[in-house]
Amino acid sequence: MAMAGEGKPRLSKNLLRMKFMQRGLDSETKKQLEEEEKKIISEEHWYLDLPELKEKESFIIEERSFMPCEDLLYGRMSFKGFNPEIEKLMIQMNSRYKKEEIEADDKMEADVSDEEMARRYESLVGTIGKKFLKKRDRHELQDEDEDENSNLRPSNVKKMFLKPQD
C-alpha cells in the first residue's frame, strides 16, 4: 500500500470521538477522553464561582440491612440429600461469602510448566505470523531460508509499477 511508507495517518479529533472508533480503545483511554471532555467548559455551561467545599469525611456508614452485620448464611438449605442442587449451592454461596473477607490466592497446579509454555509460544508466534504475511513477504522469507550459501538478494528494492516509455 502506498500509505504504509508514510507512517500512521492522522485522524481528526471528531472522527476519534465517534462511537465506532471508541470501541477498540481500552477502558482507561475511554475514561481519560471522557474526563478531558468534561474539563472543557464551554460558554453555555454555567458554574458556580465559589471555593470548593470539602465534604466532611465521615467514617460511619449507615446500613439498614442485617445481612452484613450478622454474617447471615444463605437462605435456602437442604439436608441429607433432600435436594442435591441446593446442597451444592449452599457450599458455593457460603464459601463465597466467607471468601470475600479472606483474599487467598491459591496457585493452581499447572499441567504444563512455565518454561515449556514459553518455548511453545515462541515457535507458535512465528508460525501464526507467517500466515498473515503478504504473498511478497512470504516469498522473500522463503528465499531467505533457502539461500543459505548464495548471496542474498537486496530485499529493499520494492517492485513498483514502471510506466512504459513511449
Binding site: 465521615s58 467514617f59 460511619i60 456508614i61 449507615e62 446500613e63 439498614r64 440491612s65 442485617f66 445481612m67 452484613p68 452485620c69 450478622e70 454474617d71 447471615l72 448464611l73 444463605y74 437462605g75 435456602r76 438449605m77 437442604s78 439436608f79 441429607k80 440429600g81 433432600f82 435436594n83 441446593i86 449451592l89 454461596m93 473477607e101 479472606i102
Partner: protein, 257 residues
C-alpha cells in the same frame, strides 16, 4: 434528647432505648449525661452503623429499642466493626439486598405484583429471572412462591425485587414452588436461624432429610406437602416442635413468638 442523670457506660449487650445517643470512643469530649459505647480501640476504617442506629452529630442515635450488639473488626484494617440494635418485630420493612420469599398476587403486563409482607406489594419484572427474554417468559402463575432479593427498597418508592444477582445468575433464586407449607414467624427467629453458628438447623439436618427456605421477611417454606400418612406428618412436625422447644434456652426466651 440525652438521657439526663445517667452517666454510665453502655456495654454491648445491654438494652438501649430510642433517643439514646451513643458516643464513639474517638470523641472524648462529652458530658457525663450521655452514654458511651463500650471500650474498644479507636475505629480505624469505616464503622458500620447497622439497623436501629442513625448517625448524628455527636455519635450514633438509637432509633429502636433492643439490645446493642457489636461485631469487632475482622482482619487487620478492613472495616471498623459494626454496631446494631437487635430488636424483635414481626412486621417486615423492605430493605435493599434482603433475600425474601414472596407470593405472586397479580400479573400486570410486564411485571408481577408480589406480596412480601410489607406495607406495599413489591414489583417483579418478568425479565428478572435467569434466562428470561422477551420471547422466553418465565412460567409464573398467581399464587406461586418466589425467592428473590430487593433492588429498590426505600420509604419513598414501591419496592422492586429480582430473582437474579448482579451477574445475571439465579443462585437458587426464582420460583420455588406452589406447594408445600409456608410459615410466618418473627423476624428475630429468622436471623437466629440464619446465624453462622446456629445449632438448631444443624441438629435437625442430622436427624431428618429436609429442605427449607428462609426469607428475611419472616417466612419459612417447607416443600413437603405430600406425605405418605398423616401420622408421619404429625410425628415429624411434632418432632420439629419438640426440638425447637428443647433448644429454646439457647435462643433466648420468646425468640420465636
Amino acid at each position: 434528647m440525652a438521657a439526663s442523670g445517667l452517666s454510665a457506660e453502655v456495654d454491648v449487650g445491654q438494652v438501649v432505648l430510642p433517643g439514646d445517643v451513643l458516643l464513639l470512643p474517638a470523641a472524648p469530649n462529652a458530658d457525663g449525661e450521655r452514654l458511651r459505647l463500650g471500650p474498644s480501640s479507636a475505629p480505624r476504617g469505616r464503622l458500620l452503623c447497622g439497623p436501629g442506629l442513625r448517625r448524628c452529630a455527636a455519635g450514633l442515635l438509637v432509633t429502636k429499642c433492643g439490645l446493642l450488639r457489636h461485631r469487632p473488626p475482622a482482619g487487620a484494617g478492613t472495616g471498623g466493626g459494626a454496631y446494631w440494635v437487635d430488636s424483635q418485630q414481626k412486621r417486615y420493612v423492605p430493605v435493599k439486598g434482603d433475600p425474601i420469599i414472596g407470593i405472586v398476587t397479580a400479573k400486570a403486563g410486564d411485571i408481577f405484583k408480589v406480596d412480601v409482607g410489607g406495607s406495599e406489594q413489591a414489583s417483579l419484572s418478568y425479565l428478572a429471572f435467569e434466562g428470561a427474554t422477551k420471547r422466553n417468559r418465565p412460567n409464573v402463575q398467581v399464587g406461586d412462591l418466589v425467592y428473590g432479593q430487593f433492588i429498590v427498597a426505600n420509604k419513598d418508592m414501591e419496592p422492586e425485587m429480582v430473582c437474579i444477582d448482579s451477574s445475571g445468575r439465579a443462585n437458587g433464586m426464582g420460583i420455588i414452588g406452589h406447594e408445600g407449607l409456608l410459615f410466618k414467624v418473627s423476624l428475630g427467629l429468622i436471623r437466629k436461624l440464619l446465624a453462622p453458628n446456629c445449632e438448631i438447623i444443624q441438629e435437625l439436618g442430622q436427624l431428618y432429610p429436609f429442605e427449607i427456605v428462609l426469607g428475611m421477611n419472616g417466612r419459612i417454606w417447607d416443600p413437603r406437602e405430600v406425605i405418605s400418612t398423616p401420622q408421619d406428618w404429625i410425628h415429624q412436625q411434632s418432632g420439629l416442635l419438640h426440638l425447637f422447644v428443647a433448644l429454646s434456652p439457647n435462643l433466648g426466651t420468646g425468640a420465636f413468638l
